[in-house]
């Protein structure tokens, strides 16, 4: 059996911060033929890197199996080369030594491995930099070394984990064209993980779209764009534009999902009888905040009217960086608001600005007739744990 076969792959891991088991990847099946360039596309945190790490053999799957050319994958090996987002070059080795590393591990004599390494250094356009150390190179050049290091080892499968996400936009486009050129030249089998729709469409022969956590295959789309692919030609190309638009739709539309895109928003914790022993412990959101200083926070998961959106706040600036853009602007909802603190009189009065408060218990407040655009404001005024439509939420006792 040629190529990569992924069967019913599931990964569940334990998150010590929330004390919950998280399903990162759920029942993913996928095959990649030899010489194919497949992009895995999904929103951040959808488990696509977990998927790649399992294929690379860095983490074991919970269920399912991965076969490369008929062999079951049990750990990392030179048959699968990995290009990392963080480059992961060896700072104590020159460009030449980095690229020749895999060949050295295979026991090739020095002259031979340096000859091959120079060939690949030339392929990625880094002639003249053979004896530089990685810290003397720009980010884009470092990732060229990362690509050459894997190519020189001639793996059966090349795994790329958002390799161009940490270089600037100009360099990224150049590197994408370079990668397209190299693939057109040598046809390595590539599994490319990205969150960038245009990158996925530009580079690959096939795009696999994952759902938001837990990551499941939502759709697979062939990319019949002609090669060689160059940005200057494609940006104006109607097929390219249509494909990008289609992939965007696939990423967003809930209908394409095998199940309605609704997550169990955790409400019961606060509604269950409060345990006195747990009182002095820090609350869930406080621990969450402290565990991610300065990072982007997922603050609210909204499931309103069967559609889900989310709010992400920058912890430092407290500014929303990504807003639910699927809530219809009109209409009202009845919400169960999970405040991060007990709703005192002041907060009840504040909440009256958004809708009618019809009941409170612990940290939960029932809000009726909230205009949809104001849902966002509630989440912004209060760092809410979750906003759930009352129809979905367990009812508060009167």
């Amino acid at each position: 059996m040629e190529g990569l076969t992924i069967r019913n792959l599931t990964k569940i891991y334990y998150d010590p911060y929330t004390g919950q088991h998280v399903v990162a990847v759920e029942d993913v099946s996928l095959t990649i033929g030899p010489g194919e360039f497949v992009a895995i596309l999904g929103p951040s945190g959808c488990g696509k890197t977990t998927l790649l790490n399992m294929v690379a053999g860095f983490v074991p799957p919970t269920r399912g199996e991965i076969l490369l050319n008929g062999r079951r994958i049990t750990g990392p090996g030179p048959d699968r080369g990995v290009v990392f987002q963080s480059f992961a070059l060896f700072p104590w080795k020159t460009v030449l030594e980095n690229v020749a590393f895999g060949l050295k591990m295979r026991g090739l004599p020095r002259a031979e491995r340096e000859r091959i390494a120079r060939e690949y250094i030339a392929l990625v356009g880094l002639e003249g930099f053979e004896h530089r150390y990685p810290h003397e190179l720009s980010g884009g050049m470092q990732q060229r070394v990362g690509v050459a290091r894997v190519l020189a080892n001639n793996p059966e499968l090349m795994l790329m984990d958002e390799p161009f996400a940490s270089v600037d936009a100009q360099t990224r486009m150049t590197l994408q064209e370079e990668l397209a050129r190299i693939w057109e030249l040598r046809h390595p089998t590539i599994l490319f993980v990205t969150h960038d729709v245009e990158e996925a469409v530009f580079l690959s022969n096939r795009v696999v779209i994952l759902t938001h956590r837990p990551g499941r295959v939502r759709a697979t789309l062939d990319i019949p764009l002609p090669r060689p692919r160059r940005w200057r030609d494609l940006l104006e190309d109607s097929t390219y534009k249509a494909l990008v638009a289609h992939v965007f739709d696939l990423l967003r539309s809930p209908q394409e999902s095998p199940r309605p895109l609704r997550e169990p928003v955790s409400v019961p914790q606060a509604l269950s009888p409060p345990s006195r022993a747990a009182e002095p412990q820090k609350s869930w959101w406080r621990r969450f905040l402290e565990s991610r200083p300065g990072r982007i926070l997922l603050l609210a998961i909204l499931t309103v009217g069967g559609w889900q959106g989310w709010l992400e706040y920058q912890a430092r600036t407290k500014m929303p960086v990504f807003l639910e853009h699927h809530l219809s602007p009109r209409g009202t909802v009845d919400l169960l608001v999970q405040l991060p603190f007990p709703p005192e009189r002041f907060h009840i009065l504040m909440l009256q600005r958004f809708g009618r408060v019809s009941g409170t218990q612990e940290h939960a407040v029932e809000l009726r007739s909230v205009p949809l655009p104001r849902v966002r404001e509630i989440a912004r005024f209060y760092w809410v744990r979750s906003l759930t439509p009352l129809s979905d939420a367990p009812r508060l006792p009167p």
């Binding site: 690379a56 030179p78 992961a88 060896f90 700072p91 590393f101 990685p134 894997v150």
Partner: protein
């Protein structure tokens, strides 16, 4: 005629670390001034001139070169042994959770029993011998080496280890090609601390065990009331450490971790 070890090549004297003589010049002038004004009796507070002439007299008699050689040899042997044991142990503790659980309490426990605290029992066991001095020295060097190596190993980014593995590196090669150079900044810190502590422990041990060496010379001077020799000993201790830094540690850092961009060069 100078003894051979004092003939230092010119290019070593031109080393930038030796160029920073300014602060010391100021110190010597202040010292000379206090001595000349005879704020304290001259016998208790000799000036730079007396110390310099004591230096040449002791060199001429051959005492100082022998003692210096003894002290430095002990330091080199002890540090080498401590490093040879400390680095592998640090790797074991840093990489192997079971070893960590086993060794860590022991390391913490014995670290608390300072080098000097061992001297009484060592004097019973080994007497006033080189073994006692070496034991104290190795004991002192080993803990900073273990701590820093273990820390260094754990601070190597996991992607780098994974990259090596997926380029076909077996565990031994990962250790040699990735973990060792990756841990080197911390290992050098360990070496610096270890040698520093070791140097002090050596002098303390020489004072008590007392057969030869700089520490012995200083303590022996107490009997003849020779303050000049005590000050000379102190100056030598400082100068020797300066030399170790300038000719061993700094070049090592410059050739490795600074060249690789793992740490920024000073200034």
């Amino acid at each position: 005629m100078k003894p051979p070890f004092l003939r230092i090549p010119r290019r070593l004297l031109a080393h930038p670390a030796l160029q920073g003589g300014g602060p010391f010049l100021l110190l010597i002038v202040a010292w000379a001034l206090v001595a000349e004004l005879e704020v304290y009796p001259r016998a208790f507070f000799p000036g730079p001139g007396e110390v310099a002439s004591a230096f040449s007299a002791l060199v001429y008699k051959g005492i100082l070169p022998t003692y210096l050689q003894d002290s430095v040899t002990r330091l080199v042997v002890g540090a080498a042994a401590g490093t040879a044991v400390g680095i592998p142990l640090g790797f074991l503790i840093g990489l192997h959770p079971a070893s960590y659980r086993f060794f860590w309490p022991l390391v913490l426990f014995f670290q608390a029993i300072g080098d000097i605290a061992w001297l009484p029992i060592l004097l019973i066991w080994f007497g006033f011998t080189l073994t006692t001095v070496t034991f104290v020295l190795v004991y002192t060097v080993i803990f900073p080496m273990i701590f820093n190596t273990a820390l260094g190993v754990r601070s190597v980014p996991v992607e780098m280890i994974r990259a090596a593995q997926s380029l076909g590196a077996p565990p031994v090669r990962v250790l040699w090609e990735v973990l060792l150079p990756g841990a080197l900044p911390n290992i050098i810190t360990g070496l610096r601390n270890g040698l520093g502590y070791g140097w002090r422990a050596l002098i303390a041990a020489e004072i008590i065990v007392g057969t030869s060496g700089i520490g012995f010379m200083m303590f022996d001077a107490r009997r003849s009331g020779s303050v000049v020799e005590m000050i000379l000993g102190m100056i030598l201790l400082g100068l020797l450490w300066y030399a170790v830094d300038a000719w061993v540690l700094r070049p090592l850092e410059q050739a490795t971790v600074e060249r690789w961009g793992l740490v920024r060069p000073p200034s």
